[in-house]
Amino acid sequence: MKKTLIAAGFAVLLSPLAQAADYALDVKGAHAFINFKIKHLGYSWLTGRFNDFDGTFNYDAAAPDAAKISVTIDTKSIDSNHAERDKHLRGKDFLNVGKHPQANFVSTSIKDLGNDKLKVSGNFTLNGMTNPIIINAEKIGEGDDPWGGYRVGFSGTTTIALADYGITYNLGPASTHVDLELHIEGIKK
């Protein structure tokens, strides 16, 4: 009984340090990045990014399994540093941004793997098609910032098959999958 009371007392004392909170991705300050990587003919990696996206997440360091995240990407903002290639990627052969101007990810469950590692499961919609995916994530850090805010940041990677999203343009056998890499920092709302 006494041990339980002491434990409860500690929990009450420590609880302000771990609070469930809503965070918004720091898009204005560009402290969030969505990058992609795909093989070129099997000879090198081509990397690029999406420049315009937004998202929110709910996170509590004491209960990471209860976290949620949702991100929406403006597919038109794809940028691989080459005008002709980006024009092709936005077209009907690939992202068809005229018909599908947004891609998004909504988490369905998050599992704490310990050591700040998280398994984020959710639904990813791209080119109008939705599939369940798993993002291997880790928390990079969290704390107060010098300007009165509170931030927490994560990195995550996942690999998707282009064919799962209706992208069937033949890029060769080494380029059937795209690696997505997210680096996000959220500011507590």
């Binding site: 038109k76 540093n81 080459h82 005008a83 002709e84 980006d86 024009k87 343009y169 033949n170």
Partner: protein
């Protein structure tokens, strides 16, 4: 008979006219075909390379052609007054469409700051990205201008044939070879 007269075109105008016509049709055909090429087609890189190189060379040729034309007598129109007005309008529109195609095409490839290579002779530099999504907007404009130009050029050709076969006047003949001056 290099220069124009009041009744006929000279060889330089004639050459410039037919060269432009052939190149415009060829550029349209290649452009129409190349956008559907697959990554593994051997023409995937070479067709755009030729389309852009020839397109830019044509731009310089048409520039010269407009300057040449401005310093020439131009043969008197042979049709009815409304036909002459229509012809002037269509001819000017064709020039306008061509220059707009050169500019819009240029803006597609140079949106990322990269210049366009004209064969391996020289590179036309980029003036940078002027608007967001420049390559897409310029691309759409370029495509629709191309269809418009071919449509208008077809009307132009049909009109010339009409003058030749129905009116039986010199409209077409004088763009095929310099005609003798009639007094």
């Amino acid at each position: 008979m290099l220069k124009n007269t009041s009744q006929s075109y000279g060889w330089i105008s004639i050459l410039l006219h037919w060269l432009s016509a052939v190149v415009v049709i060829a550029l349209f055909a290649v452009g129409f075909w190349m956008v559907d090429l697959n990554y593994y087609s051997e023409w995937y890189r070479t067709a755009p390379y030729y389309h852009k190189s020839v397109g830019l060379l044509l731009a310089f040729i048409i520039l010269f052609r407009v300057l040449w034309r401005s310093r020439q007598i131009n043969p008197k129109p042979l049709g009815k007054p409304f036909e002459n007005k229509a012809a002037t309008l269509v001819h000017r529109l064709i020039y306008l469409l061509m220059f707009s195609l050169f500019i819009s095409g240029y803006l597609i490839s140079t949106a990322d700051g990269r210049g366009i290579d004209v064969f391996d002779w020289f590179t036309v530099p980029s003036i940078g990205e002027l608007i967001a999504n420049q390559e897409d907007i310029a691309g759409l404009i370029h495509e629709w201008l191309a269809y418009s130009l071919i449509a208008l050029a077809s009307v132009h050709a049909l009109a010339a044939i009409k003058h030749h076969m129905i009116d039986k006047d010199n409209t077409l003949k004088r763009m095929l070879k310099p005609l003798e001056e009639k007094l």
